[in-house]
Amino acid sequence: KTIMGMAAEAQYHVLAVDDSLLDRKLIERLLKTSSYHVTAVDSGSKALEFLGLLEDEHNDALAPSDVDVNLIITDYCMPGMTGYDLLRKIKESKSLKDIPVVIMSSENIPSRINRCLEEGAEEFFLKPVQLSDVNKLKPHLLKGREKESEPSINKRKGMEECHSHDKTRTKYDGLEVV
């Protein structure tokens, strides 16, 4: 898989976050139709867990290139941690802050939209999300990819010292850039 990842155009991995099963199914289908690899979770805390950032840990154990997610798309209204809370946590995290984040909401509230964009969200989609919205994700993903390839060159040494990571793919990505 790692060798194929180098040779062929690697698939973008999108993490979708929504507490509604119906909406998760929908966003997953929309993303897969656009050839993205998708992981869907039902809460902000599950998302952070998946991203390797545990809630009570403030030091980032992971380097940006360890995290295998190219874009995060999250619902705004969720019980517990809202999409906005999740966005903030991501932007505050050294390992995650460069991952583009998109917010979805069923409510068209300008102050909400502005707050999210100001906090660093790339886009704000009104639900129900359409295929035309998903088509807008590509440029953000490409931008994310560019950012990812730079730090991994420097971080490579640090990464090799890290234990318990099966993500050897990222090491090869670093080599590929060189």
């Binding site: 509604s20 099963l21 119906l22 909406d23 199914k25 929908l26 289908r29 929309l30 139709t33 209204c77 069923s106 639900k127 129900p128 359409q130 295929l131």
Partner: protein, 151 residues
């Protein structure tokens, strides 16, 4: 082959009336477009989730509105979810009732809320019925050897 043509006509008419009468909107078309050979049951699966969601929420709403001291925040939260899932599948009339429903929640108007609950239950059962008929026709068509074009 005559049967196939007949069924195709029935299906087309039924689908058209669903849109014409406002039960479904463009979002339902979007769902159909997302269905293909690799995901042949996508629409049925999503609509089934809508049925499950709605039934659960309607029960919760009835319970919440029966309480001595109604928790309007809770009621509003349920209506918000119902509005969300109905809009996700294009169940326009169900979605429509949710708007005044949420307003009544904000006003803490029990009469208004109860009325809306009745209305939304009614709209839900109508659209459920019509969607089930739609799926039945599709199944009959496939069984007869035909296929249905997506709009």
């Amino acid at each position: 082959m005559d049967v196939v043509v007949q069924l195709q006509r029935q299906l087309a008419d039924h689908t058209a009336s669903l849109f014409h009468e406002g039960f479904l909107n463009e979002q339902f078309n979007q769902l159909q477009q997302l269905q293909d050979e690799s995901n042949p049951d996508f629409v049925v699966e999503v609509v089934s989730l809508f049925f499950e969601d709605s039934e659960r929420l309607l029960n919760e709403l009835a319970k919440a509105l029966e309480q001595q001291a109604v928790d309007y925040k809770k009621v509003d939260a349920h209506v918000h979810q119902l509005k969300g899932s109905s809009s996700s599948i294009g169940a326009q009339r169900v979605q429509g009732v949710c708007i005044p429903f949420r307003n009544f929640c904000e006003e803490q108007n029990i009469e208004g809320c109860l009325k809306c609950l009745q209305q939304v239950k009614h709209e839900y059962s109508l659209v459920k019925n019509k969607l089930e008929t739609l799926f039945k026709l599709e199944q009959q068509l496939i069984a007869a050897g035909g296929s249905f074009p997506t709009l």
